[in-house]
């Protein structure tokens, strides 16, 4: 019966449960390369399982759980706290003690306030005048340069074009501003104490 079945149809054979399960057809060709999943008869016999004391196992488990618990505790305590940025944070001390730090400034007299207001107005005028003066200077400078460029253009187009080119050497230009006292020649600054103020978190 089985023989006829085989001859009749492979599909039919495959559909039989249990009996021909060792042979699998995964190909659509007529003579497929079949692979057989035989039983593993050459394997080494299984080793006998060692019996461990259940109390030791329980202890191990407890240890693991304890370790994880500890980690969780630590994270919940510190995990959300970010490293403070000293530049952004307001000095707490100064705010809690603001009252103590209040300066007892003298009450200004009317004359004093008036003087200050007048001086402020005077200052505003002074600054405006300097600004106007500066603008006039810039104007004169530009006029002088324009005149020079016009004269140059009349002489030579090549030189004129060269003069109009952007000077990229200016990009790296630096200037050290005036200071209140001149530098002392060959001055060696005294060594200070090294104090490490870096905070550890």
């Amino acid at each position: 019966m089985t023989g006829t079945c085989l001859n009749l149809s492979r599909l039919y054979v495959l559909s039989l449960p249990g009996v021909f399960q060792t042979c699998r057809h995964i190909h659509s060709q007529r003579t497929p390369m079949l692979f057989r999943a035989t039983q593993q008869l050459l394997a080494e016999p299984m080793k006998k399982k060692k019996r461990i004391d259940p109390s030791i196992l329980a202890a191990r488990e407890a240890k693991k759980i304890k370790k994880i618990d500890k980690e969780i505790k630590k994270l919940t305590r510190f995990g959300r706290i970010l490293k403070p940025v000293a530049e952004i944070e307001l000095p707490k001390k100064q705010f809690t003690l603001a009252k103590e730090r209040q300066r007892t400034s003298p009450v200004l007299s009317f004359e004093e306030l008036e003087d200050r207001a007048l001086l402020q107005k005077q200052w505003g005028r002074y600054k405006t005048n300097t600004w106007v003066h500066q603008q006039r200077v810039y104007d004169k400078l530009i006029t002088a340069q324009d005149e020079a460029l016009e004269e140059l253009k009349a002489e030579s187009d090549y030189l004129y074009k060269e003069a109009l080119k952007v000077d990229y050497g200016m990009v790296a230009m630096y200037f050290e501003g005036p200071k209140s006292t001149p530098p002392i020649k060959d001055y060696s600054p005294p060594d200070g104490d090294y104090v490490d103020t870096t905070r550890k978190y």
Partner: protein, 275 residues
């Protein structure tokens, strides 16, 4: 009261600036249209104006002095007490209460702690032991005009005594333009050939002013155009080439009048300003 005139002057300034910029831009555009032709009608010169910037701040004017005083007063009034001041106050209070207690029961504990006042004394002593360099230098006292150490609070300009048209004149270092170089390169060459190893940053490729000299008689002589370039002094001492120039000075704008010829000075006034 003075506002209408002030306003109009402001507007004039702005207008002037805008128009001149526009002119430069227009010039830039039209230059591309022109053919690359060179026509030299006159002899070209480049001069370089080397400026040493002020080393120290200029003296405050009366109003600046007054205003900065008031500003610092206001700032102090609005401020909070510093840590040091709080500490000093606390110590003062503690000392007072100690004095009152001492009258009742004298204690012999003389603490050796450093108080805020002690610290202040220490700081005062420290600052007194340091003497900054004087704003008025030796060169100012002796009137040495070749030194760069003079007149630290104002700009200094380099003048050389150069042979111009057969006569010695006090001028900015100058050189004739030669074929193949730009005017800026001529200016840089002028500085290096006349003054040796003075390093300076030339400010831009464009000349900042021009001086025209038309010969009086209609001879073969060509007119002269002298283009000025500005530069910042960066270091190095003047080492004058005796073949080209005989002398040099570092002078302020006011002192230039005493050295330069009037007609030359007029041209310098077009682009040298002490703001």
């Amino acid at each position: 009261m003075a506002s209408p005139s002030l306003f109009s002057s402001l507007m004039k300034c702005l207008q002037g600036t805008l128009f001149s910029r526009m002119r430069v831009l227009n010039g830039q555009l039209s230059s591309h249209l022109n053919a690359n032709q060179v026509r030299h009608g006159s002899i070209l010169y480049s001069a370089i104006c080397v400026e040493r910037h002020p080393v120290v701040t200029s003296k405050k004017s009366r109003i600046e002095e007054n205003f900065s005083e008031v500003l610092s007063k206001i700032e102090k009034e609005n401020s909070y007490l510093s840590d040091h001041e709080v500490r000093r106050l606390k110590e003062q209070r503690a000392a007072k209460s100690k004095q009152e207690n001492a009258e009742e029961e004298p204690s012999n504990i003389d603490s050796e702690t450093v108080t805020a006042l002690d610290l202040e004394d220490k700081w005062d002593a420290e600052i007194k032991s340091f003497t900054p360099a004087s704003r008025i230098t030796q060169a100012d006292d002796t009137g040495d005009q070749k030194s760069l150490d003079r007149k630290l609070d104002s700009s200094l300009y380099l003048l050389v005594k150069q042979n111009v048209a057969g006569r010695d004149h006090w001028v900015l270092p100058q050189a004739t333009w030669e074929d193949g170089e730009t005017l800026r390169q001529t200016a840089e060459r002028a500085l290096s050939s006349v003054c040796g190893d003075v390093s300076a940053n030339v400010l831009g490729n464009a000349p900042c002013a021009v001086a025209k000299y038309v010969p009086p008689s209609e001879d073969e002589e060509q007119p002269i155009k002298l283009f000025f370039y500005k530069a910042w002094h960066r270091g190095g001492n003047v080492n004058i080439d005796k073949g080209i120039a005989s002398d040099y000075v570092w002078v302020t704008k006011e002192e230039m009048k005493d050295f330069c010829h009037n007609s030359y000075n007029r041209h310098l006034n077009k682009f040298i300003f002490d703001i």
